[in-house]
């Protein structure tokens, strides 16, 4: 029982990371029907920005994560403007290939700039270095931090999407772009805004991973990126609650397969789930089947 609870808590940490990344996939898909493969590289950039902010500028956790979110936001908007916008009316496959190209460009560009070697985040101090025993469980302050940051970001996201003008515009564009134009919504700036939010969340996830696992490298986005994508599909691509649900589900699957089974099968199980979802319920757990969902 103690071990079970411990696994649950561990899976919340990794699940939060997947959920944060999956949100960007799902929001961008919702608005322009693109699997933005460059998203995982933005997450990696976030991890590096956090690393440099902490190591070279001696910034604390909060300013570092905010800086990473801000820069990732700008990068995300630029990616859309430079790489995807000119292809707005092109075949989907062309945009998809471009997304993979952008992803490679950023990952190998980073490798050139910062070298391929693994780097370590500076050790945390103060509260963030603590851990707590609750019964048989050990909970680290970093796990609490991940959960807290994720909850804050999701609440903010929810408020933005549900209540602000731009949030409503986002939902309108994702449900019917032309009808949104007829309402006077500026579709281009709404798409930029979506990339901005998704990329900021990925940047935050990058810093959290750096703090939690301590090691980062230019290709660190590949596998988590794919898994977050699986999470988004699992919950129903295009659906914000689906991405959160999917993120935590995939996190739990990983932790439990590794904990009770064999950690070698961890990734295989995740991708087996993708295949099963695509066969059994392609619209995802929360998606409505039939019509292509937003």
């Amino acid at each position: 029982m103690g071990q079970f609870l411990q696994q649950i808590f561990n899976s919340i940490s990794i699940g939060s990371i997947y959920a944060l990344i999956a949100l960007g996939y799902t929001m961008v898909y919702g608005i322009i029907r693109l699997i933005n493969f460059a998203h995982a590289s933005v997450y990696m950039l976030g991890a590096y920005i956090g690393y440099f902010a902490m190591t070279y500028f001696g910034l604390g956790f909060v300013p570092s994560i905010l800086l990473a979110m801000l820069i990732c936001m700008i990068v995300g908007v630029l990616i859309e403007k430079i790489a995807y916008k000119p292809l707005r009316n092109a075949a989907r496959i062309a945009v998809l290939i471009t997304a993979i190209g952008v992803s490679m460009f950023i990952e190998y560009g980073m490798m050139f700039l910062v070298k391929a070697n693994v780097r370590s985040y500076p050790p945390m101090s103060g509260f963030l270095a603590k851990s707590f025993s609750v019964g048989a469980m050990t909970i680290t302050a970093q796990q609490i931090l991940i959960l807290a940051v994720t909850i804050i970001l999701m609440v903010v996201l929810q408020i933005v999407v549900k209540t602000t003008r731009t949030g409503k515009a986002m939902r309108a564009v994702s449900q019917d772009r032309e009808a949104a134009e007829l309402m006077g919504i500026d579709v281009n700036s709404t798409i930029s805004f979506t990339f901005a939010i998704g990329s900021a969340l990925a940047g935050a996830a990058g810093v959290l991973v750096g703090v939690y696992y301590n090691s980062i490298n230019p290709l660190m986005g590949m596998l988590p990126g794919l898994k977050a994508f699986v999470a988004a599909v699992f919950g129903g691509i295009g659906l914000i609650p689906g991405a959160v649900l999917g993120g935590y589900f995939i996190g739990a699957v990983e932790v439990f397969v590794a904990g009770y089974g064999n950690s070698m099968y961890r990734d295989a199980v995740v991708f087996a789930i993708l295949i099963l979802v695509l066969i059994l319920k392609p619209a995802g757990l929360l998606g409505k089947s039939g019509r292509e969902k937003v």
Partner: protein
Amino acid sequence: MLEIRELEVYYGVIRALKKISLHVEKGEIVTLIGANGAGKTTALRTISGLLRPTSGSILLNGDDITQASPRERVRKGMSHVPEGRRMFPDMSVLENLELGAFLRRDKEAIEEDLMRVYERFPVLYERRKQMAGTLSGGEQQMLAIGRALMSRPEVLLLDEPSMGLAPLLVQEIFNMIRTINESGTTVLLVEQNANMALQIASRAYVLETGSIVLSGEAKELMESEEIKKAYLGGN
């Protein structure tokens, strides 16, 4: 108020509108009638800015808006109820209506207009929290019109509001269009249902494969043998 001069629109190599000209004066209901594929929707979509013409111009209150974005046209007082209603299906009726007022900032006046829409369409008030995608066809048409009114348009473009509705509902929608017009909104109505359209319009244009082949007073057109044969199902 609205003037279209020699508008020409292509889909690739297909010429869908062949230099059509028409005008709508303030306070009028003008209808553009024609059979399937005549180019009616193409004309409205070009007028509201969703499509770009290859040549010709569109003037609204004397301003050339041929190059303006749909957003600028909404700002200048144009509102388009598109073919097939085009609701935001996963938003509530209320949210759909609020989006109609997207460019407005005058909160109190928006609230008043919302009440006016609810008065016109009481069913929308009853369903205000329901998702738009779950409304019936008639209710969706009412929502589409209500949403378009929320921008306080000077001119309302309607694309086949009678499409797929039962005769009784069609009558109701047309009565509504008439009262909207009476309260000061100019209307350009695209219809296949020529009979109904000619009854509420003051003037009409007949579109056939991208060209305007006939135009005039609605009453006169209703009497014309050509129209009777082709569009009114008479013999």
